[in-house]
Amino acid sequence: MRGNATTPGSAVMERAAIDRTTIELLARRAGLDKALAAFPDDVTAAATQAGTAAARMQAPADPRAEPWPPMKVGAGR
């Protein structure tokens, strides 16, 4: 991960490309044996898509930043 506690998070999250063996390992760990057997292309596409989405997020401006609460709009402004 690039970015640090003192610079704004302008860098995207780095993530290594995922290979087929790793995809199968992760899919089995998630209990997706049936999907892997019947729809291997869908499982591969899903793994790739997950990696792409995660990689497109910017690294946090401050790694100490609180993530919660994500959605509490409260009593209005």
Binding site: G9, M13, I18, I23, L26, A27, A30, G31, L32, D33, K34, A35, A38, F39, D42, V43, A45, A46, A47, Q49, A50, G51, T52, A53, A54, A55, R56, M57, Q58, A59, P60, A61, A65, E66, P67, W68, P70, M71, K72, V73, G74, A75, G76, R77
Partner: protein
Amino acid sequence: MNDLHWLTAEAAARAIAAREVSPVELTKALLERIERLDPRLNVFIRLDADAAIAAAKAAEQEIIAGRPRGPLHGVPVGIKDIIDVAGLPTTCHSKILVDNIAAEDAVCVARLRGAGAIVLGKLSTHEFAIGGPSFDLPWPPARNPWNTAHHPGGSSSGSGSGVAAGLFPMALGSDTGGSVRNPASACGIVGLKPTYGLVSRRGVFPLAFTLDHVGPLTRTVADNALMLEVIAGHDPLDPGSAAAPAGGYAAAMERGVRGLRIGFVRHFHETDLPASAEVAAGLENVAGTLKSLGADLRDIRLPALGEFAAVNRVILQSEAWTIHGSWLRERPGDYGRLARRRLLPGAFLSAGDYVHANRRRLEMIAAVDDALREVDVLLCASAMDPPSRIEDAEETERTYPRQARTPFNVTGHPALAMMAGLSSNGLPLSVQFVGRNFAEATLFQVAGAWERAAGTDTRHPPIG
């Protein structure tokens, strides 16, 4: 009265209250139109005609007895089939839930019935509100009444198509990544994603807990405000429900936009995801018209669409995985291909990805809040392209993510999409307005001004 099917909800309620139109007459007229047009549109998964007629007869008796229930007395409504209606299946347009009978009404449905609305039935959606127009599900996908060869948008596809086609004047939809505003855009009607927490989600099948919103789809801005007036309000049993004051949504609708500061988010459609020429021209026309009506137009920058989409996707797919994981493990073949592909990524996202996405989300909320301190309303694209051809999977796959709706699921701000005009081949173009949290009345103010200037409420698809 002629053309009952083009009556707005407001006009229908007024005519019913004045005993100029009977709820039975109106309901029967719509059922006749549904019988004639729905074989081409596939709006309904489950039409509940007998119950609708029975409810209309009861509504008629209540009017005769001088006991109207509320502002929607006798007005028919369609309900997206991820929202519970007591006694009817909530299938989510999926084989997985084909026998899932709802025990009670969702809160939003109960509120509509409490205001006198008549439920016509359950409407087509993308599978579990995420898949896409699919031909491998138990029911066919809904089609666009402006041209049935085209997609009506989704996932609230039946809601958008049915309202635009005059099958009912109002419908409920849900919006997790744009699913109310997409069909509103594609079908040339008005769709609102309210502020997160303003409308209860209890009784609505979840897609992603922190992104899900329930919202109204109507043919006019006034009807949208009226419907929101009925469904908005705190629900202590919905953990996401906001304890905020609700109501007064139509208060500023006739006020016009003179002096209102409107921020045009041009980079969304000019550089982030360059829009088709007709969409871009439509947006310029809306902006120019509002300026000519006295609005103070200025350019505003927000984070890039690509990152909004990534944050939305990581949160949505992580949360959805916790709902669908067991079915995806045991019954992957019972999902359609599109929904399976869009739900499986959750298995490959880490807890760290989810936390990062939420952390970034807070920064995005702050960015939109900052922009809305500088202006009263944002104006931006909704869709970057006119609706795709529904049987052209490649075109749909290419155009589907080319939109600017997901940012406001990420941030929770209210966002309204409506018609901006028509393309050269007669398909709706769209615009989106975004407001401060709980400032839906200001959105209706701007949308109402555009509607009056452009006459968007009088344009109907050439069907039936």
